[in-house]
């Protein structure tokens, strides 16, 4: 697509390549980014799912039994399995990006990237362990 010159009189014509709608498909790094963005939908689904679970719990045993039966449906099994892997991908990619966005200084020196990412992973493992203990204690 050629456009009239916006800037100078010395470039009466030029060629501007139009960006394809599918720009994110032709490069793995872009596809990786779009998958990371899309994983937010799965994160939102898990939030809604957890709220539904809590609501069923609060309504009593009979309601929770119906909820558990619903969980066994093939559609929900597939949805939750796919969502689980996307949420994992979401967490790992964002933890790896955290050092880029978060610059901490201690004693005048920048805290190394691995320490910031490592702190995020440690907090994640700790929170998972607490939740696992809460659920599995019997």
């Amino acid at each position: 697509m050629n456009e009239p010159s916006r800037h100078t009189t010395f470039h009466p014509r030029w060629y501007r390549e139009r960006m394809s709608t599918y720009w994110w498909l032709w490069r793995w790094k872009y596809l990786r980014f779009v998958l990371r963005e899309m994983s937010s939908v799965c994160v939102a689904w898990f939030v809604i799912f957890t709220m539904m679970q809590v609501r069923a719990l609060l309504r009593g045993q009979a309601d929770y039994a119906v909820f558990q039966e619903w969980l066994r449906s093939p559609l929900l099994l597939v949805l939750n399995t796919v969502s689980f892997f996307f949420v994992l991908y979401h967490a790992i990619t964002w933890f790896n990006l955290a050092p880029t966005a978060m610059v901490l200084r201690l004693g005048g020196k920048r805290v190394p990237d691995f320490a910031i990412a490592g702190a995020n992973y440690a907090a994640w493992i700790f929170a998972t362990a607490v939740v696992a203990w809460f659920i599995l204690r019997g």
């Binding site: 050629n2 501007r16 720009w23 790094k29 880029t100």
Partner: protein
């Protein structure tokens, strides 16, 4: 006879072409030759009409940025042997209008760069007799990485946000604004805030991160933008506080 490598070079002549096409050339595949050497060989020995920008040949001037096999590269730092046996496809930088062959129009960037005021701004300048503004190594360390930018525009070519929305200020302009914002001698952060905190400024960035990946000087523009997002958010919260900063 020396081993040769094929180069598929994008050609575009605004006077006669509706769109670019590729022309194949051959250049010696020498161990110490970069893509720019091959282009200069073609221009000097094969086809004098081939047009491209270059100057220093040592990764300082930022003139010779092009797309090599789909990736934005400084052609003076991209060795031919890394692409052997070839062919090597050389195109102009993406996301910019092509003026001719491998030359792109960069006025849009230059205008954006000027808007972020990439220079030291002082409100209380002191007379020369009082000497220079001193700075500790730690203070310099805060902005040094961002000051390494050579305006080569590889980051703009790698940024899909800039490709989709040409109003976006873009990685290098924001990184250079941050270079001055973080300089202890500068007092112009407030002047830059209005421009940078617009939707076409830092908030346009979706953190694809490719600008940082392709930067030949390890400037980390993606980091500069994300760090400035935090600063802008803090400034926004502060605007709700009464003067003096006390709630």
């Amino acid at each position: 006879m020396a081993e040769m490598i094929q180069l598929e070079v994008a050609r575009y002549s605004p006077e006669k072409d509706a769109e670019p096409s590729f022309q194949t050339y051959e250049a010696p595949l020498r161990k110490d030759w970069v893509v720019l050497d091959a282009l200069n060989h073609i221009k000097d020995q094969v086809d004098g009409s081939l047009t491209f920008r270059w100057s220093c040949r040592m990764g300082i001037c930022g003139s010779c940025g092009m797309t090599v096999n789909g990736e934005p590269k400084l052609t003076c730092a991209t060795f031919l042997t890394d692409y052997a046996p070839g062919p090597v496809r050389v195109e102009p930088l993406k996301n910019f209008p092509v003026v001719r062959d491998l030359v792109v129009e960069i006025t849009d960037f230059l205008e954006k760069l000027q808007k972020v005021k990439p220079w030291l701004i002082r409100k209380d300048d002191k007379p020369m007799s009082e000497g220079e503004f001193l700075q500790t190594p730690e203070e310099m360390d805060r902005y040094k990485q961002f000051s390494m930018c050579i305006n080569c525009l590889l980051c703009y070519a790698a940024c899909p946000v800039y490709g989709l929305d040409p109003l976006f200020s873009g990685p290098a302009a924001i990184a250079l604004a941050q270079r001055y914002n973080m300089d202890s001698r500068d007092q112009g952060a407030g002047e830059r805030l209005d421009l940078l905190s617009q939707s076409e400024g830092i908030w346009g960035c979706t953190f694809v991160g490719e600008c940082t990946e392709v930067c030949p000087k390890h400037v980390d523009p993606a980091g500069a933008i994300q760090q400035y997002k935090l600063t802008a958010a803090m400034e926004w919260f502060k605007s709700f506080l009464p003067p003096g900063g006390n709630p």
